[in-house]
């Protein structure tokens, strides 16, 4: 009992510490690593509950695969520099956000703790999971009987996600058409990139013109296009 309690506290601390790290650290790489800590803590909590299979999956899939993927992306896109979050133009935003966050936490705690020892009103549907035997079997039972429909439609969800990922990550060279709807001083990065692209195009166009000196007419004319 005391060991379980000790493990719970330790794992809980790791989870919370990791979560705070995700939110507060400035370097994206550090954020991602903090997330690993949180997920690891959750895995330990699963072990503590005797859900070994879930613990293993937690480590392999989330900590192992997903966060590592995050790290790849962060490093490949080269956004692994510190972001400046020091300035906050909206005066009341941060204090209000902190207060609201605390209020949600506090009120949820009140709701949860008011239930005391009898938080769960009924024997859970997942009672089979608590039977002796390898938990992977029990999990499979529940998944393929009671939750079989949910399990199957998750496939549709994944399909949507894949289609979306492919569609949105397709590169396009076409220029943005609504930049002038945005007022001066906004979307600076995008504008700069658009200008760069235009300049590049012009350079390319000039290069083409230079490369084909045989064409009739004044090459300068073509360059103006």
């Amino acid at each position: 009992m005391r060991v379980e309690m000790f493990t719970f506290l330790l794992a809980g601390a790791i989870c919370l510490g990791g979560a705070l790290g995700v939110v507060l650290l400035k370097n994206p790489v550090h954020n991602a690593l903090s997330l690993v800590a949180t997920l690891f803590g959750v895995a330990v909590l699963f072990v503590n509950q005797g859900a070994y299979f879930l613990a293993a999956i937690q480590v392999i899939v989330y900590a192992g695969a997903i966060v590592i993927l995050f790290l790849f992306v962060i490093m490949l896109l080269g956004v692994d520099r510190e972001t400046d979050e020091g300035r906050e133009p909206l005066v009341a935003q941060r204090p209000l956000a902190v207060a609201t966050g605390l209020a949600i936490l506090g009120l949820s705690l009140v709701a949860l703790l008011s239930a005391g020892q009898r938080a769960t009103g009924d024997k859970a549907d997942l009672a089979p999971l608590n039977q002796p035997g390898p938990d992977i079997n029990h999990l499979a039972e529940v998944l393929f009987t009671r939750y079989v429909y949910a399990f199957e439609i998750t496939a549709v969800l994944l399909t949507v996600a894949v289609v979306g990922a492919v569609v949105l990550s397709k590169r396009t060279n076409e220029p943005l058409i609504d930049l002038d709807e945005f007022p001066e001083g906004t979307v600076v990065d995008v504008r700069r990139r658009a200008d760069d692209a235009k300049a590049q195009d012009e350079v390319d166009a000039d290069a083409e013109v230079v490369a084909v000196p045989d064409t009739e007419g004044d090459p300068q004319e073509g360059g103006d296009d």
Binding site: S114, A119, N137, T145, A150, V160
Partner: protein, 507 residues
């Protein structure tokens, strides 16, 4: 594992569930339609005519609609059923909603067809996502289990997040998709947290079991249950864009490609309300209505007033429609708030009417947006009555319907909603709803002024072209809006029959 062990396992869970595929036929047809379309298109690259995906999508939606009619009759014979281990509820309520969703897919596909051609965008993925989104919506509508409901919601939402961002050349489309995604994820987290708390309190995610448990037991320490209810309400209120969870809506509606805004307004709202009614009215209605009704009341009143007032001061027509959709959400919340069979059928009638009205409105907006989808200011409607009298007249009718003028669908839907409020003794709420309707009437005034009284001949920014597919969609919407307003009886009848019921799963 030996066969004997398997036998043991099966015996312990009461046998493998039978999966009655026919009962979820609409969802299957829509989802399969989406996946097959993806396959067909990728195999026969560039050999299919441009109209192919749209026709495919419409066929799938119509096929799904046909199965809805078949199932409607079947339910009439056999009564309401709970199928696939109690995950799916087959009743006329879910069928009505599924039918409504199919209608919005048909019109959405028609609008997309014209839109994608005009904007030179490549097509099939749009339709794939449209079909998959609808499959998610139908799943929600028939969900008898909170997990199924949540997954359905996510399928629908993620598909629509992507659709919002899919006009690659419009920065505001990307912005819209991103904003919708971030806020939507935030709201989903609330919903999931709420589901977890309800599960904790009742020991089940199955709506029928939750309902039975709550009926048989009084939870003395109800903090967990109540917390769960509040958080689930946050999640649903976000999806239907109810005040104060609405701020995303104007930005997202404005930025998203216009046919997607249409689909968002019609289908997402329909599915989310269906889920909300299943959870709140059916599962929690008998036992916890006193707890959730005041919250829904507050959301309804705020949505009605903020939606109507804010719609008036917009100069961007898409934003205007977004705010008016918030007001409409307020009306439907009034029906949900009554928590009666009458309220449910009022909500259903409203959702179908709203699907026609809003699809038609956005159809006109999509056309007037012209190439580039950027002409959505009120000033872009100047002189529309002169250059496109038919289009202007259609838009006027849609706006009149939204304002609730008699002989349009909008009047009756508002009427039924107010009636359900009165019936459950909330006269004051009915009066607020009427006040909101009066305020909202100014909406059409502003657009009519722009269309008929402003602008000189020849000062149009660009000609307005109405593609054939879009005019078909607007025609369908117009027919629906007027028919529901003039001869509403068949639909009213169906909506009255479409009461939902939670049937406990066989076990």
């Amino acid at each position: 594992m030996t066969a004997a062990v398997l036998q043991n396992v099966l015996a312990s869970v009461g046998g493998l569930p039978s999966i009655e595929f026919s009962s979820v036929a609409p969802s299957i047809i829509l989802a399969l339609g989406g996946v097959l379309l993806l396959t067909v298109v990728s195999v026969t690259k560039d050999k299919l005519p441009v109209w192919f995906p749209a026709v495919w999508t419409i066929s799938a939606a119509v096929a799904a609609l046909c199965t809805v009619f078949r199932l409607w009759i079947r339910v009439g014979k056999w009564g309401n059923l709970s199928l696939i281990s109690g995950a799916v509820g087959l009743d006329r309520f879910s069928l009505f909603v599924i039918g409504t969703l199919c209608v919005s897919v048909v019109m959405g596909a028609l609008l997309l067809e014209g839109y994608l051609r005009r904007e030179d965008l490549e097509g099939p993925e749009w339709y794939v996502l449209l079909l998959l989104a609808a499959a998610g919506g139908t799943t929600m509508a028939a969900a008898n289990d909170l997990i199924v409901l949540f997954i359905g919601l996510e399928i629908l939402s993620i598909a629509v997040y992507i659709l919002s961002a899919m006009h690659r050349r419009r920065m505001s489309s990307l912005e819209s998709g991103l904003k919708y995604f971030i806020h939507g994820a935030f709201a989903s987290a609330f919903l999931l947290y709420g589901i977890a708390m309800v599960y904790g309190a009742t020991g089940s995610t199955n709506l029928a079991r939750i309902s039975t448990f709550l009926a048989d037991n009084v939870i003395t320490q109800n903090g967990l249950m109540l917390g769960g209810i509040a958080l689930m309400l946050v999640g649903f209120a976000f999806k239907v864009a109810a005040v104060p969870f609405h701020q995303w809506a104007p930005d997202v509606y404005q930025g998203a490609p216009t046919p997607v805004s249409a689909f968002m307004a019609a289908a997402v709202k329909t599915a989310a309300f269906a889920g909300m009614i299943r959870v709140f009215v059916l599962a929690l209605g008998p036992t916890y209505r006193d707890e959730w009704r005041p919250m829904v009341l507050a959301l309804a009143v705020l949505s009605l007033l903020v939606g109507s007032v804010m719609a008036l001061v917009q100069t961007n027509v898409k934003r205007m429609l977004a705010y008016s959709s918030i007001g409409h959400a307020g009306f439907i919340l009034v029906a949900v708030h009554s928590s009666t069979a009458m309220g449910t059928s009022a909500a259903l009638f409203y959702l179908l009417s709203y699907t026609f009205m809003v699809m038609g409105s956005f159809g006109v907006v999509a056309v007037v947006g012209r190439k580039g989808d950027g002409h959505h200011q009120l000033s872009d409607y100047r002189g529309l009555g002169r250059i496109r009298p038919g289009l202007a007249l259609a838009f006027t009718i849609f706006l009149l319907a939204q304002a609730g003028v008699p002989l349009t669908a909008g009047f009756l839907s508002k009427f039924y909603v107010i009636r359900s409020a009165i019936d459950s003794g909330d006269t004051a709420l009915g009066v607020v709803a009427m006040l909101a309707a009066v305020i909202a009437a100014f909406l059409y005034l502003r657009v009519i002024v722009a269309m008929y009284f402003e602008g000189e001949p020849g000062d149009e920014v660009a000609p307005v072209k109405v593609p054939a597919a879009v005019s078909v969609a607007i025609g369908i919407a117009l027919a629906g809006t007027l028919l529901l307003g003039i001869v509403p009886d068949p639909v009213t009848h169906a909506a009255n029959e479409a009461t939902a019921e939670l049937v406990a799963p066989r076990r």
